[in-house]
Every structure is written in structure tokens, then in C-alpha cells.
């Protein structure tokens, strides 16, 4: 545990001592709950259609695959015409692209970012490394199977997959969402203990709350 995260007493500028516990003060700790769909099937269908056509990707390149996402913004591939955008903050994104190998150290940041995204959220695993470790299958610090730690909606194979493959993967994801099967966030909430146990098995210095909203 890092020193700045420990519980301690701080003297404020007005001379009053107060207790600071960063892990509890800065985050909401309540575990995630399963959020039901809208009451009406028609409304939920409309929402799902809008969600599918408005994928906001969290701009967090976790590995080398992030280099394949940049061409998607350029004139040649132009993902914007499919309603795909990049957002800089997890609060506004609903799609997390795990781009390539994921080291244990990055996994920690990924979990924090993932948990801060609002509920219908999707994860795309990009490249072989997220599927079975790829060329890092015997690495000491790279996870070999993403779906042990986060609920994954779509895997895109390849090392690296071309931008065209990415676009095809996003289209597949859209089909899944439109069919109402993109319930990764609820799955995460349902099997929260299982996911947390898996995460804690590989992240040894767990210095964050169990759930950080």
C-alpha cells in the first residue's frame, strides 16, 4: 500500500485536524447492482439501437494494439461515420477496447476505469493476447485470458488485427447490442465476487477499493 493512500490525520489550513482515508473518501464503495432494462420492450429496443449506433470508446490504449485504433480516425477508415467516437473520460464512454496485451499493472488501471463507466458498457478484446495470451502466453506479467477479469462482448483475433477487422468487430458488437445481449455490466454485477477473486489473484498489491465508482 502506497503511503499517500493510507489512513492518516491531516492538519487543515484553518488549523483543524481531520482524518483522511483516501480509499473511502474519493470513491463510492457500494458494490455494483444489476440494473434492469427499461420497462417497455419498445423503449429498450430504441435505447439498444441508439447504444449500438453511438459507441463511445474510452481513449485508453492498454497495449500495442492501440496503434491500430488511430487509423480508424483518419480519412481512410473514418470510424466516425459508424457512430464511433473516442472520449477521454470513462464517465462518458460505453465501450472499452482492450488493445492487445494486458500486463498485470495495466489490468489494475483497466479495472478502475471499467468500473467508472456508466452501466450499459461493453468490452472488446483486441488481438490474440486478450484471447489466449498470444505471443506473450508464457510471460510473467501478462494475463492470458481477458474474460477471467472482465466480461468481454467481442474478441477480435489477429496479431495485430487490421483496422478493417476492427470495424468488422464493431459491427458485430452492434449486432449483439441491438439483440439486447450486450449486458456485460450486469453480468459483472451478478458475478462480482467471482471477478473480484480472479482479479485479486493476479493483482497482489491491491491498493484500491473493491469497487470504485
Amino acid at each position: 500500500m502506497k503511503q499517500e493512500l493510507e489512513k492518516r490525520w491531516v492538519k487543515g489550513p484553518d488549523g483543524v485536524d481531520f482524518e483522511v482515508e483516501p480509499l473511502r473518501d474519493y470513491y463510492c464503495e457500494a458494490p455494483p447492482t444489476v440494473m434492469p432494462a427499461a420497462y417497455s420492450k419498445i423503449i429498450e429496443g430504441l435505447f439498444n439501437w441508439a447504444r449500438a449506433e453511438s459507441l463511445w470508446i474510452l481513449g485508453f490504449g492498454t497495449g500495442c494494439g492501440a496503434i491500430e485504433m488511430r487509423p480508424l480516425m483518419t480519412p481512410r477508415f473514418d470510424a466516425y461515420r459508424y457512430g464511433i467516437q473516442w472520449r477521454p473520460t470513462p464517465r462518458q464512454s460505453n465501450l472499452f477496447v482492450i488493445s492487445g496485451y494486458l500486463s498485470v499493472k495495466t489490468l489494475k488501471r483497466v479495472i478502475r476505469s471499467y468500473e467508472q463507466m456508466p452501466n450499459p458498457k461493453y468490452v472488446v478484446g483486441l488481438g490474440s493476447c486478450t484471447i489466449n495470451g498470444g505471443m506473450y502466453f508464457d510471460s510473467y506479467n501478462t494475463i492470458t485470458r481477458l474474460d477471467e477479469y472482465l466480461p468481454v462482448d467481442v474478441y477480435i483475433t489477429g496479431c495485430m488485427p487490421r483496422p478493417e477487422a476492427l470495424l468488422a468487430g464493431f459491427e458485430e458488437l452492434k449486432r449483439i447490442i441491438r439483440a439486447g445481449k450486450g449486458e456485460g455490466a450486469n453480468q459483472y454485477a451478478e458475478r462480482f465476487d467471482w471477478y473480484k477473486a480472479n482479479q485479486k489473484r493476479v493483482i497482489h498489491d491491491w491498493d484500491m477499493p473493491d469497487y470504485n465508482w
Partner: protein, 301 residues
Amino acid sequence: MSFEWIKIPYALLTLFIVANYGFLLTAVMAKIAARVGRRHGIPVWQNYLDLIKNYGLRSSITHGVMFYLGPVFRLTGGVGLLMFVPTIYGSVMFSNMSFAGDLILALYFVFFGSLGMALGAGESGHPYSAIGVTRGLSQVTAAELPFALAVYAVAVQYQTLSVTEIVAAQQGGILNWTLFTNPIAVAAAMLSFLGSMMRPPFDVVLAPQEIPIGPPTEYHSSYLALMQTNRAIFPIAKIVIYMNLFFGGAASWPVFFLKVFLIYLVSVIVGVVFPRFRVEQSIRWFLIWAVPLGVIAIVIA
């Protein structure tokens, strides 16, 4: 004078038309900017999709009361601005509450949104929000200065503060527009216009899709949707003011659509041509180029 209740549905109708026009127009402008970069750009209905999606998000959190009120204030700024100027000149239906407010009120509303945003974003406690708010307020203040000067020049020119009377004075031919009767004031105001449209080269405050997204870093789901709605209404409302003050107003909806489109296009053209300014550069730019023009306009008037 008795209040006519029929004005309320009329005002809502105006708001509805303007909001939809705003959504389509921002998308069309994004498409134009994309075409300049040889991209196809977003579909024109993309803004509606984003809006529905953001309202459809299931979870949301709050950081306090001001966090709720920030987007509301922002929307109030846009809607208020729209309500107190005559959208369509001479039309009973779409003049809204313009009898009640004058130019000074409109100036307040232009600033109101940014202040509300600052309060809300400050409450979220995110460092990027604080940076964004600082940048935003300093830039808006610098951009507002020439606009205020130009507005006073125009007010002195027509000897009135009522928007309706200013529009009335500009009727009867293109050469009666303030654009030709007081070009220096219009020039100052148009430079300020570039700064307040949040497009390049003055968009560092609210650079979407980048790490320092600015004030709305913590905003999500419905809050963000509310702000998106405002992003559609506010530019149109602002352009309506410009149109009324400087470009002769609009007597019918087609003229309104055309003029708003053209005025918006000015900022888009500048935006695709010039790269982004840093905040201190843009403030310096406003103080050096725009403010002296405004001062000259007042001195001449």
C-alpha cells in the same frame, strides 16, 4: 399590459424548432469539417442517437447539488437567450418574450451558461474540470469584451437597447443592415463570435475526445445529454442575437435558417483553416485585434 398565455406554447414551439435545427446544423457542420479532411464524417442524425443513448444510460452518480444544477444553468443560458430575443422579426408567434428583455439581459444570458458550468464542474472535484473551467472563463471573458463593446456601439447608433427596435431599424434593404452602417462594430463582434463558438482555433476549453476535455470531465448520462441539448440550442440562440443586431434579423423561417447557417459557417470555415490557439494566445489575440476594433466602434458612434 396583460400576459398572453398563448405565448407559452408559441415559445415551446420556437424552442422545439430551434433545438432540432441546432442538432441537425451541428451535425452538418461537423460533416462539412470532416469533408475538408476528406472524411465522410458523422451521419446527420448522429446527435439524436448520442442524445438517446445518454438518456438511456442506466447508472449515474452525483457529486452534489451544484453538479445537478450545472447543466441546468447551462441550458437556462441557452434557452433564456433564445426566449428574450425575437427569433422571427414581426411574427407574433415567434417573438417570444422579447418585449420583456433588452440587450443587457441577453448579454447576461450569454455569460450565464459558462458560470453555471463553472460551478457544476467545480463541484465534481476533478482536476481536469478545474483546469477547463479556468481556461473557459478566461477565454469567454476575453471574447465577451469586444462583443459587449460592439453591442454598446450598436445601441448608441440606434439610440435604443431593445432588440426588436434595432431589427426594425435595419429593415428595408440590405444596405440598412448594421453590417454596412457600422462595419467596425460588426467586425469586432464577429471576431468575438469566433471565440464563443467553441470551435477551432478557440476550442481548447472543450476539446472533445482529448485528455483535457475540460469542464465536463465528470459529466455523464443525463447530465451530459442535457449539456448536449444546450450545445445545440446555445449556438443558434447566439447566432440569432448576431443576426438581429448586425444582419437585419429574419422575417420568416427560411430566411432564418439560411442566415443562421451562413453565420455558423463563418466560424466553421475559420475553424478548419486555422489550428488551435492556447488559452493565453487566444486571450492575447482578442485583446490585440478585437478589443481595439470595439473601442473604435464606440468612439465613432
